[in-house]
Symmetry: C2
Subunit: 221 residues, 2 copies
């Protein structure tokens, strides 16, 4: 392994037996036809499973919906990009000229995709168990900071509590449209808070309302 | 283990060391507060990873988009429900009275959720490697039937080829709406083929068009 990559391995806390996997994980599609997109596909699935299992084991009373929401907050691009920045992963990316000039090494999606690709690379390098250990090490600060029970509440509840805390009027949910055959309907719902409006589609009225509330929280908070 | 569950294990091709996991996986939420929803959450993530890795290894030249589409066809509810029917899983489900009367043991979502829960149960019973072996055994006929390269084409290409084969006019894609801040826009696109219209939302124009084409193919084929 060349010296710079060895330094990155130190930062990662993982030493590659086959450094070629790491090199591929650091190569953006703008730099080469052999790039990190396939590894990202694999790493995304690994991350989803590893975080799912951690939450399943550590929150034995959480419902499936609560586990899903917790996981979503941990595997979203923003969280991954923050982890990538802590590792200074951007310094090691191989980007094409265009992306280099436009500062692609700082872009959230490029950073989060590369970190997912590194997760895939660790798996190919040494298997599931070592990859799980490394991902949980990578996430150690995020996982220990998860104790806030509000993360476990659903978006409609959180939106209501947020508005009540500010003594503001409660949200109104309106059904805008029901489409599709009876066994495969999709529901379009709007959430209205004063002058703000969000719209979401879901496979049930409840799911569409929850998603519209989540979008509203994003606008408000 | 009681005799009926032992018979199910024979059908599954997997013998549980801790039959309690299997019992939980077969329990619908209509039957008990201790039901299969959490196991389904875990099993869904396992299935996504196991199929992702299989495709990654067996299609070394497939792009990330092609791998994603192949996986989607393998892990969708319809495929899982078909597998569940082959195993006669519906005969072993524990359902509440309401679901029993309305024939819930035949419903696609209940069957596919239960099979995902069984995958989670196998993992808890004997770990990742054994779970992967079992899932690939379960999917053996679907995976060997994957050779059709048309599965690898994107929906817009498949829709175009389908319409050309029938000497019908090509689809028209219209941008209906662009919402959100520049760094987090969502694009609403419609796909029009004669009197049919499908609408999809995506984080890029390309993704929304592909999704609208996929929905159109579902209507046409």
């Amino acid at each position: 392994m060349n010296l710079p990559l060895a330094r990155l391995c130190t930062a990662l806390g993982y030493r590659f037996q086959t450094p070629g996997w790491l090199e591929e994980a650091l190569t953006h599609r703008s730099a080469s036809a052999r790039n990190n997109e396939r590894l990202e596909f694999l790493g995304d699935a690994l991350l989803n499973l590893i975080i799912a299992e951690y939450l399943f084991q550590h929150y034995p009373k959480a419902s499936e919906g609560e586990l899903s929401r917790l996981r979503a907050s941990l595997v979203k691009g923003e969280t991954l990009a923050n982890l990538a920045r802590e590792l200074k992963l951007g310094d090691w990316l191989r980007l094409g000229q265009g992306e280099l000039k436009s500062g692609g090494y700082r872009r959230e999606s490029i950073l989060s995709d590369a970190l997912e690709a590194v997760i895939g690379a660790v798996y190919l390098d040494s298997g599931f168990s070592a990859c799980r250990d490394w991902v949980l090490y990578l996430y150690r600060n995020w996982l220990t900071g998860l104790s806030d029970a509000s993360d476990l509440k659903d978006p409609k509840t959180r939106l209501q509590e947020y508005l009540q805390a500010g003594q503001r009027p409660l949200p109104i949910y309106n059904m805008l449209e029901i489409r599709g055959e009876p066994h495969a309907q999709s529901f379009t719902v709007e959430c209205v808070v004063a002058e703000l409006r969000t719209i979401a589609v879901g496979s049930s009225r409840r799911k569409a309302e929850q998603e519209s509330a989540r979008l509203m929280l994003e606008q408000l908070v």
